[in-house]
């Protein structure tokens, strides 16, 4: 059942090609007299790829990429660490959790675009206001999952560990943490994307550099090719970060049985 890596790669490329083909056809072949993907809004795959190439070839992109990368990584790290810490804290302190529960949910529902000016006020225009925006996205995703993950710890394993005499810190290290790991990683895969989204939206709303800045510039002057080139780079980018997360995940979760679906 396990796919051969080369075959898998070919299939993935096939999907990409089909998608590009649809894009190309939608942008150039009219149905009736409307285009499915009008060039004005979607550009054309060829143009976008050429633009991506130019961006790299001229080296313009590196500065922007580097800034966005820093923001994303920082947002991801700070957000996940905070999510983990608060997730654990809330799960272990039911009173705290019960009292703050409505407030956490309220904050989670605040639109980040509105918060952006406040972050800029507090943190300035540098990368930190963008990091903060990313953190507000990443945090909640990780938080809720870790919280639930801790509560899902097997009661027998927990009882056993407590009977051994583990104190709260030891329980954390030896029981809660490993048990919540698969929850955490599940949330991290979503969180990686949202860290990037946060950074880019932050840049989009106010900055002097970064992928979001590039996209914003392009959007203002109908340079859809530029917008899509930015998004393509962004997408490629997240794969790299996610790959890193997956590596760490596989490392930390060696102990698990092959999941049922992989087995058959």
């Amino acid at each position: 059942m396990k796919l051969h890596p080369v075959k898998l790669l070919l299939l993935q490329l096939l999907v990409a090609l089909v998608a590009l083909a649809i894009w190309q056809v939608g942008a150039t072949v009219p149905i009736g007299d409307t285009y499915l993907l009008p060039e004005f809004f979607f550009s054309k795959p060829g143009d976008v790829l050429v633009r991506v190439y130019t961006l790299f070839a001229t080296g313009v992109i590196w500065k922007h990429l580097w800034i966005t990368l820093s923001e994303t990584v920082l947002a991801f790290l700070i957000g996940s660490v905070a999510g983990v810490v608060f997730g654990f804290w809330f799960a272990r302190q039911p009173t705290v959790a019960a009292v703050f529960d409505p407030y956490v949910k309220m904050f989670n529902a605040l639109p980040r675009v509105v918060l952006a000016p406040i972050f800029m006020l507090w943190l300035g225009l540098g990368i930190w206001s963008k990091v903060a925006l990313g953190v507000t996205l990443v945090f909640f995703i990780v938080f809720f999952n870790v919280y639930q993950g801790v509560k899902e710890v097997s009661p027998v394993v927990l009882a056993n560990a407590r009977m051994m005499g583990m104190n709260e810190r030891q329980l954390f290290r030896n029981v809660y943490w490993p048990s919540a790991l698969s929850w955490m990683f599940s949330s991290l895969h979503t969180a990686v994307g949202f860290a990037l989204v946060g950074a880019v939206v932050g840049e989009y709303l106010g900055s002097a550099a970064g992928l979001g800045y590039l996209i914003h510039q392009a959007e203002g002057v109908f340079d859809v090719t530029g917008v899509f080139a930015g998004m393509v780079i962004l997408a490629a980018f997240v794969l790299v970060i996610d790959w890193a997360v997956t590596r760490i995940e596989n490392r930390l979760l060696v102990w698990r049985p092959q999941s049922a679906s992989e087995q058959n």
Binding site: V156, A161, M163, M164, M166, P178, S179, W255
Partner: protein, 282 residues
């Protein structure tokens, strides 16, 4: 029924020996959503002396595990209280090691780490802990399975890792819930001997739940019988006055063994019949 026993080799608990565990009129109930409260255990008293080995037998579902949970401090009794070495128990019973009926190993640690961690949390250095753990893994016959994760072990192997995990800490009180259940008869005897040797070393108190009456009699100083639930009670308490040290295999030939076996068995049988009387056509 609580006669003090004289042992030959095992350190005989003096008549006035301190009580390791006392249950005073402990009763246990379970509240369930949308159902009446289930009174699992009626007010029950039980005393276990330091250095005493008490076996608990009873029909399935009567409340043996529940009673151990209460002794471990994992379950709050609905009534009555537990004292451990004279002090009333609140929270967990720190003196006790508990081998659970269910699988309770940490799935994310190897077998060896599962055993070693029991020492590490007490402050033992990791290298020492691993060395001792490996000793114990050998004692339970799993010397070469240390680097397996629990899901890579058979049922009986997991149970033995659990046994090593509890014993390695050398707790004062041992709570064991069917520790040898998934083991073959021969391994059971080896493990039984292991347990007895350990027990003989220092004056541990043992509460031992089993379904194997032979085993109960062969190992213990006293066999306690619980009635069928709900509202299970202790309905029998048999001192086992067989000489120690006992040889697990030979003891079955002792006529006294058979007398005791028959007595206990008859009472137990009647009790089980009661459970089924209501449900099963005879």
């Amino acid at each position: 029924m609580e006669a003090a026993l004289g042992h030959a080799a095992a350190p005989p608990p003096a008549s006035g020996a301190a009580m390791a565990v006392e249950l005073h009129d402990v009763s246990i109930s379970f509240a369930m959503k949308g159902q009446p409260v289930y009174k699992a255990v009626a007010p029950t008293s039980l005393k276990v002396r330091e250095g005493e080995f008490v076996a608990i037998v009873g029909p399935t579902g009567c409340g043996k595990s529940t009673l151990l949970n209460a002794t471990a401090g994992l379950l709050k009794p609905a009534g009555g209280h537990v004292t451990v070495f004279g002090t009333p128990l609140s929270g967990l019973n720190a003196q006790a090691g508990y081998l659970f009926q269910q699988d309770a190993l940490m799935p994310w640690k190897t077998a060896l780490d599962n055993v070693a961690i029991a020492l590490e949390i007490g402050g033992t250095r990791r290298a020492d802990a691993l060395a001792q753990a490996q000793e114990w893994m050998k004692k339970v016959g799993l010397g070469r399975f240390g680097d397996r994760y629990p899901h890579q072990l058979s049922g009986g192997q997991r149970k033995r890792v659990g046994l090593a995990q509890v014993l390695v800490r050398q707790p004062k009180i041992l709570l064991m819930d069917e520790p040898f259940g998934p083991l073959d008869a021969q391994t059971r005897q080896i493990m039984g001997t292991l347990l007895l040797n350990l027990w003989a070393l220092d004056r541990k108190a043992v509460l031992f739940v089993t379904h194997d009456l032979d085993e109960a009699i062969a190992l213990s100083d006293r066999v306690v019988i619980m009635s069928a639930g709900p509202e299970a009670r202790i309905i029998g308490d048999y001192p086992i006055d067989l000489d120690r040290p006992r040889d697990a295999a030979d003891i079955r030939l002792d006529p006294r063994f058979h007398t005791l076996h028959r007595q206990i068995w008859n009472q137990l049988k009647a009790e089980v019949a009661k459970t089924y009387g209501e449900d099963l056509a005879p």
